[in-house]
């Protein structure tokens, strides 16, 4: 049954990918990309990767669609006709496809328990997580503690990307005529005159925030964690900005607070690592944070997940506001 669902979802994925390539209308392409991410999330869930599925659904299908749409509001909705020769890209893609199909011949069977990926370090993590960290969600243990360096790296990638986008947007547009004015309503007013979305949206925002906090702090026990929670909290505030207008959202969370969040989360993560050194152990070793090593691990995971969530929220909101502010110029 799982295989049947998998084949069905993958077929839909291929159809969506072809549709994305074929459409010339960028708005349609963005919505199709969102559908692609949602299908991918369902696929991950089918493969029992609930954490990845949650991330893909929150970030891929949710937030990136909003950011793509904000970018589209600044540019046009139609793809420029290409004048490039199409034979060369086609040849490159064909060669890579052939190589990838050739590579699949060496892959183990789908779901094979003897596959190298299930025999290498995974058994060790599954065996040692209850002993060293004692939390039910092995994914969070691996992500936060065993492979803490990788997650630190990811947070700094998010941090750097956010700073890069903010730098790009801090430059004034040189050619004003190219910036199309698409905003019909009063700038910064949002959807104040649409009653139904406004009422329902306002009703939902507290619950979205609550669910974000649940995902944030329940990451040790179930699927979730800082990345997903950050995206959800950012989504709630973006919804607020859409309903009540940019100005209101910026009044609730001003830009300098957002900058503080972006830097503060990454700093919190790094600080937890340095605290490990100062307390006489290695960088990002949480065992020394409390008298009991397992309690220390729990505290460390809680703090670094909070750091991840804070940075992700800050970066996503800063980027959203940067796009929106550019649209008002």
């Amino acid at each position: 049954m799982t295989v049947l669902f998998g084949v069905f979802l993958l077929t839909l994925l291929v159809i969506t990918a072809l549709a994305i390539v074929r459409t010339r209308h960028l708005f349609v392409a963005v919505i199709l990309t969102s559908i692609f991410s949602l299908l991918m999330a369902a696929n991950f869930f089918l493969l029992d990767a609930a954490d990845v599925a949650l991330t893909e659904a929150a970030i891929g299908a949710g937030i990136s669609t909003v950011l793509f749409l904000s970018a589209l509001a600044l540019t046009g909705e139609h793809e420029r006709a290409t004048t490039m020769n199409r034979m060369l890209p086609l040849a490159v893609v064909a060669v890579i496809t052939l190589i990838m199909i050739y590579a699949t011949f060496d892959k183990p069977r789908f779901g094979d328990p003897e596959a190298p990926v299930h025999q290498h370090v995974a058994p060790w993590y599954i065996e040692k997580t209850p002993e060293f960290i004692d939390i039910p969600n092995v994914v969070t243990a691996v992500l936060g503690s065993f492979r803490g360096y990788d997650t630190l790296g990811e947070v700094f990638v998010v941090f750097t990307a956010g700073i890069g986008v903010l730098f790009l947007f801090s430059a004034r547009p040189s050619n004003r005529r190219n910036v199309k004015r698409r905003v019909r309503t009063e700038p910064g007013q949002g959807l104040r005159h649409y009653l139904v979305p406004r009422v329902v949206g306002r009703l939902l925002i507290p619950f979205i925030l609550l669910f974000g906090l649940y995902v944030q702090f329940h990451g040790e026990y179930g699927p979730g964690g800082g990345f997903q929670a950050g995206a959800m909290v950012a989504a709630a505030i973006i919804l607020y900005a859409l309903l009540e207008g940019e100005t209101q959202a910026l009044r609730a969370l001003p830009l300098h607070t957002l900058t503080g969040l972006v830097a503060g989360g990454a700093l919190l993560f790094g600080g937890v690592g340095v605290a490990g050194i100062l307390l006489g152990s290695n960088f990002l070793d949480y065992s020394v944070l409390a008298a009991d090593p397992i309690a220390g691990q729990h505290l460390g995971l809680l703090l670094i997940e909070a750091g991840v969530g804070i940075t992700v929220t800050g970066v996503l909101l800063s980027v959203f506001h940067a796009f929106a502010a550019r649209g008002r110029v």
């Binding site: 019909r184 005159h193 649409y194 139904v196 979305p197 329902v200 949206g201 939902l204």
Partner: protein, 110 residues
């Protein structure tokens, strides 16, 4: 008893599937945007309600049922809102309900 619940659940699931199918068919075949929205919103409300009710019967009295109820409540709040927002946006963009594009300014502030 278990058999009765199973039968009821399957009836609900099949009906829900039928509503989703009809909604999908309508979204493809209806003549203009507003009727298509109308057909599409059927899948989100009636279809989702019946399917989730069917799954709830399968889940029995457990935590899963409460979660499903929460999902149902969320869907019942958001999907009609999304359909409404879509229709208002279409009206604001100048798509007239009879399917022809507006000649002059669309009705603003509806």
């Amino acid at each position: 008893m278990a058999l009765l619940i199973d039968i009821a659940s399957w009836i609900l699931l099949t009906l829900g599937g039928a509503f989703v199918f009809i909604g999908g068919l309508g979204a493809l075949r209806m003549p203009n945007l507003y009727t298509r929205i109308h057909a599409g919103s059927l899948t989100d409300t009636m279809g989702a309600m019946l399917v989730i009710a069917g799954i709830m019967l399968q889940a029995g009295a457990s935590l899963a049922t409460i979660k499903l109820a929460a999902i149902l409540l969320f869907l019942l709040l958001t999907s009609p809102t999304a359909s409404n927002a879509l229709a208002s946006a279409a009206l604001l963009a100048g798509v007239r309900p009879d399917g022809h594009p507006a000649k002059s300014n669309p009705e603003q502030g509806k």
